[in-house]
């Protein structure tokens, strides 16, 4: 969404008093020395746009402090601070946002020896639209700004600073999952969310209509159950989705490493040196022996019930005998007979008598009173394994022998000296194997979790189905409820596909932008496995480009995540090095308005690409000037 910021006026917050005037929404360079309110401006904008009036108390953060004080700590008396942000939208409509905070800053120490800090009485938001044409107040202000301009979800990106850049650099390669989650949020299409909301409302209406014939209590019961189950199912679908993504990542890692290991093994096998072949043979024997030991240990573990408690199976059989012979289980329950008895008119199939109400009730209860076929079958089945003897001592001996063999092989393996080049083949292969084992273990764990998650998904679906089936009142609306379910799944699938494609494009665009700023040798790569990385001549890793390169990458990522056109940056070129001019051109080309809060040392070869040096505005704290 394109807007133009006209001015930001800060009065009192953290002791700052100044006005940033953007001259009708032009590119603006504000020269602000250290500790003059650059970071405070950025953090205030984020705080105002992100939090609603009722949620803003004690949510202000400042660099690494969260929460941090927003009031002026130099004042002992009650104070009133305000910020006024004026901007225009595409059509030229004017907006004036004001957040006023009243409270007191308590500098005394609490028991934990920390300063007590802000004691806020009230926070008040006001938005004046079209110069008084309309006025919004309270939480409606934030809701309006977020819905119309997407300020809330974008504030971390279009209000940018070094702290956020560092966070992104860290996230780009070390917290890939969080990074991908952010991108997923960015690629969520608002219209699709609206369709989902309409479907949910339709379902609610249908359920309410279905329940009109029920008593209030029954209605509430069924509706609550359905709502809970549906919520569980929807959360669970997300869990399954995440696990599927994880499975794909681990699977691809295992495949990649297996290919690498195969390539290295091939190199080792084709080596002419006798020593290498001997070492390779020993390696093969070592791996086989390790595998054999694992199998034997697993065998011991799997049979532990037999060798730890030899009488276990006999014990179970004995218990069953006692239950069968001395217990009070009646004859097996004859389902067919009972079904026949209950047919209309209900008649006893043994004596031919028509069943009265009490008899009918008793027959219906038979199933819960007596053991079902499953119980009878269990009691009559044999619970004796044919192989109840397991010679654990023999297996133990075998394991000991294999361990001896392994030790010997490892010793011989260690004695073979190779050139460092040849040795590196083995080291690399061994490291790859170790990594593959780690990923393989994770893959298996994920697959097991996925299987359980899918089972639970089926159970929840079945339970929802059951609730609907049991209530005849809901039955007549079931065809339409089914259509809603089907459409929700179709929308979800289509939305997912759309996101994947958009993520690919985000990667491509960031890469082209990186080339245009850093030079044609540099590209970027975005993937769900490795995150966002800078590459040089096609080689990617987390260190390419140094700090300045990765800083540029974090700018590009922020631009991709923001849905608001202007960008406001605190200390824009602190560590950008020689790429200042290229970054300036990029920012000017990407944004209709760039607002920069620069240190005096940041102007050369950068700020003049936006405005003439005579138009730079030096900002000082108005309060201090008065004094």
């Amino acid at each position: 969404m394109s807007v133009r910021f006209l001015s930001v006026h800060v009065s009192g917050y953290r002791g700052r008093h100044f006005k940033l005037d953007m001259d009708d929404g032009k590119q603006s360079i504000f020269v602000m020395d250290g500790n003059t309110g650059k970071t405070t401006t950025i953090e205030l904008l984020r705080w105002c746009f992100r939090f609603k009036q009722t949620e803003a108390k004690y949510k202000f953060r400042h660099m690494w402090s969260s929460p941090s004080h927003v009031l002026d700590f130099a004042l002992e008396e009650k104070q009133k601070c305000w910020i006024e942000i004026q901007f225009e939208d595409d059509s030229g409509k004017h907006y004036k946002f004001i957040r006023e905070t009243i409270g007191k800053h308590d500098r005394s120490k609490a028991r934990n020896k920390e300063t007590k800090g802000d004691i806020i009485d009230s926070i008040t938001d006001t938005l004046e639209i079209d110069r008084g044409g309309d006025v919004l107040q309270g939480n409606k202000v934030n809701e309006f700004l977020n819905e119309k301009f997407r300020f809330g979800v974008s504030s971390d990106y279009f209000c940018f600073d070094g702290e956020k850049a560092r966070e992104m650099i860290r996230m780009a390669t070390s917290e890939v999952k969080s990074l991908i989650d952010l991108i997923r949020q960015r690629t969520t299409h608002a219209q699709v969310q609206l369709y989902m909301k309409r479907l949910e409302d339709l379902r609610d209406n249908l359920l309410t209509q279905s329940a009109a014939t029920l008593t209030d209590r029954a209605h509430r019961g069924i509706k609550t159950k359905l709502k809970t189950k549906r919520f569980d199912l929807s959360s669970h679908n997300a869990v399954v989705g995440n696990l599927e993504d994880e499975e794909a990542i681990y699977d691809s890692e295992v495949t990649k490493l297996t290919d690498d290991i195969r390539g290295l093994s091939e190199k080792i096998r084709s080596a002419e040196s006798e020593t290498i072949r001997r070492k390779a043979d020993l390696e093969h024997t070592r791996d086989l022996t390790r595998k054999e030991i694992s199998i034997l240990r697993a065998e011991v573990y799997n049979n532990c019930r037999i060798w730890m408690e030899p009488g276990f199976y006999n014990l179970v059989t004995k218990v069953k005998d006692v239950v069968r012979e001395r217990g009070h289980f009646p004859d097996p329950y004859h389902r067919d007979l009972i079904t026949e008895c209950l047919k209309k008119p209900p008649t006893c199939q043994i004596c031919g008598r028509v069943l009265d109400t009490n008899s009918l009730k008793r027959v219906k209860q038979l199933e819960v009173q007596i053991a079902t076929h499953d119980v009878q079958n269990f009691l009559s089945s044999k619970f004796v394994s044919e192989d109840t003897i397991y010679d654990v001592a023999r297996t133990r001996k075998e394991i000991q022998n294999q361990v001896k063999r392994l030790k010997l092989t490892e010793e011989n393996y260690g004695l073979i000296a190779l050139s460092s080049e040849d040795e590196s083949l083995f080291t690399e292969k061994s490291e790859n194997s170790r990594q593959r084992d780690v990923f393989h273990a994770k893959l298996i764990e994920t697959q097991t979790n996925l299987e359980s998650a899918r089972d639970y998904q089926k159970i929840l679906q079945h339970e929802i189905e059951q609730i609907l089936q049991k209530s005849t009142a809901f039955q007549k609306n079931k065809p339409l409820l089914d259509e809603i379910d089907k459409l929700e799944i179709a929308l979800d699938t289509a939305h997912d596909k759309m996101r994947k494609r958009t993520i690919e494009v985000i990667g491509e665009v960031i890469s082209r932008a990186a080339s245009s700023i850093l030079g044609k040798d540099f590209t970027a790569m975005l993937s769900e496995e490795d995150g966002l990385m800078l590459g040089e001549k096609g080689f990617y890793n987390a260190e390419i480009g140094g700090y300045s390169g990765r800083l540029i990458l974090s700018y590009l990522f922020a631009e991709a995540m923001s849905q608001v056109d202007p960008i406001i940056i605190d200390t824009p070129v602190g560590n950008v090095g020689t790429h200042r001019a290229a970054l300036a051109h990029h920012l000017a080309n990407n944004h209709s308005q760039v607002i920069l809060l620069c240190l005096p040392t940041e102007l050369g070869d950068f700020a003049e690409h936006f405005v003439n040096p005579e138009d730079f505005k030096t900002i000082r704290n108005l309060q201090e000037e008065k004094e």
């Binding site: 960015r186 309409r198 339709l202 339409l480 179709a490 289509a494 494609r501 494009v505 990029h586 080309n589």
Partner: protein
Amino acid sequence: MPKSKVNIQREIEEILEREFEAMLDSLSDNKLFEIVKSGKIEKMKLDDVKQKVLGGRNK
């Protein structure tokens, strides 16, 4: 100095819109989706929705 010709935000919005259009196309013969998309659903009576979506199946 080469001038950057990449406009990140615009390109992302464009692809999101293109993919969104493709999604609309893929669901074009779904009667319920047609109603949901049009926004009329909020004003329609449930019986009319049922009739429109289920046709003969609505008994």
